[in-house]
């Protein structure tokens, strides 16, 4: 069965800390995505990657960076966490052709 695994379900960090959110998929998918979800704002795309070492900015990339060194792993990095980055973060993957997304369970990040 298809699986997208996010390393942490809940995470609490301090303002200014560097934060790593990890995502692993076991489906050999080309594309991987990072979204954040906030009440009333829906899912907003932060970054996506369509191949190893390739990345594209989404709609809200400011304050974030990503890394895709291996096909199965896509990491989201908050270089210096701020309180407005408190959110639910969702990772997803998709095969290149159809774009049907498979999501992880999400990481609820709180920045204090």
């Amino acid at each position: 069965d298809v699986k997208v695994t996010q390393s942490s379900r809940y995470l609490v960090k301090r303002t200014g800390e560097k934060v790593f959110l990890e995502c692993v998929q076991d489906m050999d998918h080309e594309n991987m995505f990072w979204y954040r979800q906030d009440p009333g704002l829906g899912l907003r795309l932060i970054y996506f990657s369509y191949d190893v070492k390739m990345k594209e900015k989404g709609d809200i990339p400011e304050g974030y960076s990503v890394s895709r060194e291996k096909k199965e792993r896509f990491s989201l990095i908050l270089e210096s966490a701020s309180t407005n980055q408190t959110s639910m973060y969702l990772c997803a993957s998709s095969p290149g052709a159809l774009g049907k997304l498979f999501f992880g369970s999400g990481t609820q990040l709180s920045v204090l």
Binding site: Y50, K100, L101
Partner: protein, 113 residues
Amino acid sequence: SQKIEQNSEALNIQEGKTATLTCNYTNYSPAYLQWYRQDPGRGPVFLLLIRENEKEKRKERLKVTFDTTLKQSLFHITASQPADSATYLCALVGDSSASKIIFGSGTRLSIRP
């Protein structure tokens, strides 16, 4: 800029009735449109996909329409059940493998017994 609107934040209907959810978009020409279901505390789960050259798609009690002239998709759940209560999201997908996928803010559907 690209914009997707799901015009009802919440929809409350009686069990057995048909639920109809709306997704409108502007400044985008998607190759196809998708619908997802999301339960509280979980990631969205894919339901249906409809291509730009398709008018209608069905899957069991679900039906999706896609009107590229109106820039609108309708999502129907017939014979609704309390278990259908969830948030439903529409998503637009571009025509290349490197396209980003953008989502509406969702409609929270509640089916009362």
